[in-house]
């Protein structure tokens, strides 16, 4: 079954280019222009991966990720940040919010597709459970 990806970015251009890259990699891609729209989509449909920007109006990517993680059905969904912010503190904040991977823009098509496939490998993103 084709994996469903939700791409979130306030830039129409970035949204379309990331969508093109992921569709070319064989994913089913849906778009959201901001955090609120992304949450609405996540609540009405099922997604396997979220690819999000950080600097967005109304709700930034960090807050979006925290809210996604608070949803029981998305506690372990892989989340990839793609941001122009390249400082270590930005990456730290992203991981702290609950992202699985942080990539600095611009991202190459092959890299994005490879990262998306990697994140969708269950063994790499499933929550660690204690052994009996």
């Amino acid at each position: 079954m084709t994996a469903r990806v939700l791409v979130v970015d306030d830039s129409r251009m970035v949204l379309d280019l990331h969508t093109f890259m992921l569709q070319s990699g064989g994913f089913e891609v849906h778009q959201a222009r901001n955090g609120a729209e992304a949450l609405e989509r996540l609540l009405t449909d099922h997604y396997d991966l979220v690819v999000t920007d950080i600097n967005m109006p109304l709700m930034d990517g960090y807050e979006l990720i925290r809210r996604i993680r608070a949803l029981p059905q998305y506690q372990s969904i892989p989340i990839l940040i793609i941001s122009t912010e390249s400082e270590a503190q930005d990456k730290f904040r992203g991981f702290e919010a609950g992202a699985n991977l942080y990539v600095v823009k611009p991202v190459k098509m092959q890299d994005l597709v490879t990262n998306a496939r990697m994140l969708l490998e269950p063994a790499l993103t499933a929550p660690v459970t204690s052994q009996p």
Binding site: M13, L17, M21, Q23, S24, E85, K105, P106
Partner: protein
Amino acid sequence: MSVSIEALLRNLQDEDETTRRFAAEDLGDLRVAEAARPLAAALEDPSAAVREAAAAALVRIGGSAAVEAVLPALRSDSAPVRNAACTVLARIGPEAVAALQRLLEDEDKDVRLFAVDILARIGSPAAESALRGALEDRDVNVAAAAAAALGEIGTPAAVGPLIRALKANSWVRCAVARSLGQIGGQSAVEALVGLTQDDDELVAFAAVQSLAELCDPEASRQLQRLAAHPNPVLAAAASAALERVVRHRAIDSPSLSVGGIP
């Protein structure tokens, strides 16, 4: 009852939120230039109402006092503070352009990116001129943001500088392609037709999207070629663009056959 400027500045530090908010509002109403720095500091106030009042006051004060007071907030670690600073500078408008142009030379690429975003929101002729210079920025995200901003402003005079920026990396070429589609015109269409042959599929896709918007029949041959591209996503985008061009042409010239492609 009149309250002195000194008292208002003191009230801006008061423990009571309402007192701080009223002080910010009064300082803005009185357009007290010397209050610009304390008001800029109030952009970090714990109260949202005080932050909003301080931002509005800074816009009212305007001029170099407010601009220079707000600039350091663009380097804040807090995203809401940075966003507030961007909004204040954008609302101050043309008076902020000279300082923003100076920021385009800043060592920090994030600061240069903020400057580009604010200049785009101002959109005045001077802001547009500064953005043309930023097309040559050494950071790809800054150059791409400048290209995107010029497309949003949409002045035909930007087409030449945008075409010259096509030598840059593929991400910038994508932004240029999109902006050329927003501005339009003969030179833009010719450049976009050329970009459909770009080695990078991403750039070709961006060009196809823009040509779909412009609906120029000159693009038909290249779109037809791309409709057979091995990447099915690019091929589908080219087919959709071609359909749109043909449909648009049929509307313009009803005597032409919709199925016929020149």
